[in-house]
């Protein structure tokens, strides 16, 4: 049975230096793959610009907006997102909140001060290029007091896990693992040393 894949990056660790560990890993039955060109991997990572990621936009709207105006502002925000190639996943309707501290915004040539605001949020999926443009439009929005655009990771998007109740005694849980380990060690010992040397030589080539 193949176990975890051990990836060696030759640029970082020349295989000769790691001879001991490679040998040990082979003995324990790991499958080893060698990446000769580590730099090419980072290049492919940068190419991901076209793919879309999930973002969350939180915003404070001016509290003086009426109900109709408020709905209009929200739909306009959604339009701005969809127009740039994004798609709305979920949203929280703006609700009146008291701010923890006074905020101010330049409107019509003077600073307007706000103690309350309408706080709402939108979760959406969009390509990275669209987000840059979206930021630009948000900054020039008259009715937005403040906004926050964050990228959401996999943890944030994953549904809340349902957990099984904990077992009271931990001893039962640990025993089988230890047994497995012992068995693995015994199995690993069967590989002859000549074979190991051959495998390592193949890896270097």
């Amino acid at each position: 049975m193949p176990k975890i894949c051990l990836v060696l990056r030759l640029k970082l660790f020349p295989i000769q230096k790691k001879y001991g560990t490679v040998r040990k890993a082979l003995k324990e039955g790991y499958i080893i793959t060698v990446k000769h060109n580590f730099m090419s991997e980072t290049e492919t990572h940068e190419d991901k610009g076209g793919e879309s990621t999930v973002y969350e936009l939180g915003y404070h709207l001016v509290p003086s907006l009426g109900e109709d105006d408020l709905a209009l502002r929200v739909t306009e925000l959604q339009k701005a997102i969809t127009a740039l190639g994004g798609s709305v996943i979920s949203e929280g309707q703006p609700q009146s909140t008291t701010l923890a501290y006074q905020m101010r915004k330049m409107r019509n040539g003077r600073w307007d001060k706000y103690d309350t605001a309408l706080f709402g949020w939108v979760r959406f999926e969009a390509p990275a290029s669209a987000v840059v443009e979206l930021k630009e439009t948000l900054e020039h929005d008259e009715y937005l007091i403040r906004h926050l655009l964050i990228k959401l990771d996999a943890v944030a998007l994953a549904p809340e896990p349902v957990r099984a109740p904990r077992t009271k005694s931990t001893e039962v849980a640990t025993e089988p693992k230890e047994l497995e380990k012992k068995q693995e060690e015994e199995e690993g010992g069967e590989v002859s040393e000549e074979e190991l040397d051959k495998q390592i030589e193949q890896l270097i080539q």
Binding site: G58, H60, G92, T97, L99, A100, Y101, M103, A117, F119, W121, R146, L148, I150, V155, A156, E160, P161
Partner: protein, 69 residues
């Protein structure tokens, strides 16, 4: 004498720190609105970093005060 660290029993079960979820964040703030250290929160290093990020975002959005006097 070296005391053995308590495991898991004291860890608060927060998977993702959302800056909008003020009630959860407030559990990790002291009465002055400062972020409580790892020693007292009992969080893992990554969780503590996520917490700090969330608190700072919440402060910026005016949901939590920067300072309480």
């Amino acid at each position: 004498m070296i005391e053995k660290k308590k495991e898991d029993t004291t860890l608060p079960e927060v998977r993702y720190f959302d800056y909008k979820d003020i009630e959860t964040l407030k559990r990790f703030l002291n009465p002055h609105g400062r972020i409580v250290g790892r020693k007292h929160t009992g969080l893992r290093a990554k969780q503590q970093r996520d917490l700090a990020r969330a608190v700072k975002n919440a402060r910026f959005m005016g949901l939590i005060p920067y300072v309480v006097r």
